[in-house]
Subunit: 113 residues, 2 copies
């Protein structure tokens, strides 16, 4: 993880449509959601949805797997975890007093570049 990747992932999530897509997928849990189901919930033209999904997939935040003629989308939790880890570490890097105790507990110890 580094500034370039982190900023691109943040940018991918930094759009209301995409953040909603991502949240919807997280809430769908392990089962995931087909693009079509997502499209119903998001009420958005297919091509627009597809562009947004591509962005999330390119940044590793979403994964698709084919089931017959549909594509099932899954939130890629590990990517979010790495991103959160990066932010927590960046945020608390030197002072250690920027987050309340509960969050400080999870500060990572590895060095971040």
């Amino acid at each position: 993880m580094n500034i370039e990747i982190a900023s691109r992932q943040l940018e991918a999530l930094g759009n209301p449509s995409r953040l909603t897509i991502y949240r919807t997928l997280v809430r769908a849990g392990r089962a995931g959601l087909a693009v079509g189901q997502l499209q119903e919930r998001m009420d958005m033209p297919g091509s627009t949805l597809s562009h947004h999904l591509k962005r999330l997939i390119d940044m590793g935040l979403v994964r698709q797997e084919r089931a017959g003629t549909s594509l099932i989308c899954h939130a890629e939790y590990s990517a979010m975890d790495a991103l959160l880890g990066f932010l927590v570490n960046e945020c608390c890097a030197d002072e250690g007093n920027c987050l309340p105790p509960a969050v400080k507990m999870v500060r990572r110890t590895e060095t971040v570049t």
Copy 2:
């Protein structure tokens, strides 16, 4: 905190220059950094830096306070904490299995809309 605010904050951080600015301010700690010092470190024209700073300030991620003729910038930790809290909650909302144990410990219990 809601999707609109969260996505705008994520977008603000989702640019390599701004994420670097933010990180630099975090690392500067409580003392903060004057815009001019930040400009030296970032090696960027003043107007460009000022545009980026404005964006971070507008989203509540950075605060400025005047000290004579310079403006000292500070990372606004509480905003980052709220954003991280939102992401952790969104990410673990229904399944609770998307993050490793260390991070799961800090899941918030309040409802998120």
